[in-house]
């Protein structure tokens, strides 16, 4: 007896549909992973979303919760599994998986533990999506992007770290508030190592092309009577502040990752401050990842903008490179 479906519908094309063309995978369904997932879905970017994690119940629950919202989204297929075959055919893979820092644990130890889980994750991703672009969010992001690049065997332009994308977004928000304009109208870049040693490029800070440093040559220095340097400090302290208040951060990083994903999937050639392989630039000779303004398109990092940095800024980048390499050279099993 014919089913309702058979009576209702006359098939024309027949067979399975083609694609997916814009599949996004998110590895790790913690607060950061899910914030990335919901922001990406709300921007209507993927035609398929896959979630992967090791905690099976939570993973299935998150998948179901998103599927139940399908009526309001434009992503017709949302899947999840701890088996990586579910990620096959992804264009973008966002890695948020990480171990939790233990009290008093050294950075090297934390990184080595993260390397051990990435050894399980990254090769499987590449096996199932050999043409993907990897976006690493897990901290310490610059080191983990290097680790991902090594473990993936992918060309360097297809492995990106979220890096200073969020730092720069926070910087633009905080600066814009002081100037009473919208963040999109304040242009400023924070580059280098994500975290305490990031570099605010004051020489480029501008609104409508009006360079702030020409209005105040002391801007960003200790001599500055207006104390603009404080804004960069606020950016560095941001994550700690939010963590102190709510236990973790997720919404801002989720939105910033969705913004990167939009540029990548739509081949926009927008410029973002993301972590990329900087060997050979600014006198850096090691294999390290630091954030620079990168032109992103559907093949990943297509080019890097040659920022005019002063001697002090270049010195900071080199110092970061040395610190990162200091840890990276001791990592085992890469």
């Amino acid at each position: 007896m014919a089913t309702v479906q058979e009576k209702l519908i006359t098939p024309i094309a027949g067979g399975a549909s083609e694609g997916p063309w814009n599949k996004v995978t998110v590895v790790g369904v913690g607060q950061v992973g899910m914030a990335c997932a919901i922001s990406i879905l709300l921007r209507e970017l993927p035609d398929e979303l896959a979630l992967v994690d090791v905690v099976e119940d939570r993973l299935k629950g998150e998948m179901m919760d998103l599927q139940h919202g399908s009526l309001f989204l434009k992503t017709p297929k949302i899947v999840a599994d701890k088996d990586y075959t579910v990620t096959a055919g992804s264009r973008i893979v966002i890695v948020t998986a990480r171990v939790r820092q233990q009290e008093g644990e050294s950075r090297l130890n934390l990184v080595q533990r993260n390397v051990n889980i990435f050894k399980h994750i990254i090769p499987q991703i590449v096996t199932h999506s050999p043409n993907c672009i990897l976006v690493v969010v897990s901290n310490p992001v610059d080191i983990m992007t290097y680790v991902t690049w090594k473990l993936s065997g992918l060309p360097k332009h297809r492995v990106i770290g979220s890096g200073c994308n969020l730092d720069s977004a926070r910087f633009r928000y905080l600066m814009a508030e002081k100037l009473s304009v919208h963040p999109t109208s304040f242009h400023g870049w924070i580059l280098g190592e994500h975290g305490d040693s990031s570099v605010p490029v004051w020489s480029g800070a501008n609104v409508a092309g009006v360079n702030l440093q020409t209005l105040n040559p002391d801007i960003g220095t200790d001599q500055d009577k207006e104390g603009w340097k404080e804004t960069h400090k606020m950016v560095v302290d941001s994550a700690y502040e939010v963590i102190k208040l709510k236990g973790y951060t997720n919404w801002a990083i989720g939105m910033s990752v969705a913004d990167l994903t939009e540029t990548l999937t739509k081949n926009l050639s927008r410029i973002h401050p993301v972590s990329t392989m900087v060997k050979g630039m600014y006198g850096i000779n090691e294999d390290v990842y630091l954030s620079l303004p990168c032109v992103l398109n559907n093949s990943g990092v297509s080019s890097v903008i040659n920022m005019t940095l002063n001697a002090e800024e270049v010195a900071k980048l080199k110092k970061s490179a040395d610190t990162l390499w200091g840890i990276q050279k001791d990592l085992k099993d890469l």
Binding site: V4, M34, G61, D65, A176, V181, L215, E226
Partner: protein, 332 residues
């Protein structure tokens, strides 16, 4: 000495805008509240989103986290110190309340949440006397009644998210079975949000073709395709997701955002939401149940007169009696 700002910008007309924008207040920054916030923010329908909660640090942290994403948004976000900062909201979404425990029925939550509402609702009403109130906290139908009583608002301005999520789940599951997008599957679950909700199979259709005309046994136990299971799955959905991840958030956040859009933009879209149903379908009590409502900037503009089978009307009346039995014992 002139500051950078003075040198940069020639001020013309600084200060607050004259015409009030579309302001939304969301009460409660738990998982549901925050899922509502992120969905409302990304839909760009609100000019200002104000959050309020009793947990001050969490509130401050959540607002800070959202503000750090301002580069990607088109709304201002505020953490209210007290209810005076929620003033002049066009829409107030209430998600505050204690959470359903695993296996706990919605009715068990009642009195615990009534006490919470006694603090919230009169304050919202005082500072935004013209707002529409949208209740999400469970048990939603009872708490929408409570919000109506405590606010003193006309009933058309107090609605509950009701079965809008149940209906979304219903359409998703039918869509999966027919391999059609849920937006092309039309069907309503009405009545009490939860275990006793009523799927209106007689109206469920794709492109105007009602499924029941193709399979008259669709809503019975004699159906080899077991369509009736779909409703059962909808009812169990929330319990299932809670069992797996501890709570539900994304789907309810998305459905609430859709309701917010219809209200703020005066779209007159029909949504199944919890509204005062006294004198509809033969119901005599002051209860709120979900029916297909036309939603606009003043709340419920109209209710669709869905032809229901006797079995469906009976179930609505039974829900009404159950809810009233609980409501009349409440200390309001």
């Amino acid at each position: 000495m002139a500051t950078v700002k003075d040198k940069l910008i020639q001020e013309i007309n600084p200060g607050k805008p004259v015409v009030a924008g579309a302001k939304v207040t969301i009460v409660g920054v738990g998982q549901v509240g925050m899922a509502c916030v992120i969905s409302v923010l990304q839909s760009n329908v609100a000019d200002d989103v104000t959050l309020i909660d009793v947990m001050k640090d969490k509130l401050k942290g959540e607002v800070m986290d959202l503000q750090h994403g301002s580069l990607f948004l088109k709304s201002t976000i505020t953490a209210a110190e007290d209810y005076s900062e929620t003033a002049n909201s066009k829409l107030c979404i209430i998600t505050a309340g204690v959470r359903q425990k695993e296996g706990e029925s919605r009715l068990n939550l009642v009195q615990r949440n009534v006490e919470v509402f006694k603090h919230i609702i009169p304050n919202l009403a005082k500072y935004s006397p013209d707002a529409v109130l949208l209740v999400v906290s469970n048990p939603v139908d009872i708490l929408t009644y409570v919000a109506w009583k405590l606010s003193g608002f006309p009933s058309h301005r107090v609605i509950g998210s009701g079965t809008s999520l149940d209906s979304a789940r219903f359409r998703f599951l039918i869509g999966e079975k027919l391999k059609i997008n849920s937006t092309s599957v039309h069907g309503y679950i009405i009545g009490e949000h939860g275990d006793s909700s009523v799927p209106v199979w007689s109206g469920t259709n794709v492109a105007g073709v009602t499924l029941q005309s193709l399979n008259p046994n669709l809503d019975t136990e004699n159906d080899p395709e077991e369509w009736k299971n779909i409703h059962k799955q909808v009812v169990e959905s929330a319990y299932e997701v809670i069992r797996l991840k501890g709570y539900t958030s994304w789907a309810i956040g998305l459905s609430v955002s859709t309701l917010a859009q219809s209200i703020l933009k005066n779209l007159q879209i029909v949504h199944p939401v919890s509204c005062l149903v006294k004198d509809l379908h033969g119901i005599k009590e002051d209860v709120f149940l979900s029916l297909p409502c036309v939603l606009g900037s003043s709340g419920v503009c109209g209710v669709l007169k869905q032809p229901l089978k006797e079995s469906e009307t009976t179930r609505l009346k039974k829900s009404s009696e159950t809810l009233w039995a609980v409501q009349k014992e409440l200390k309001l």
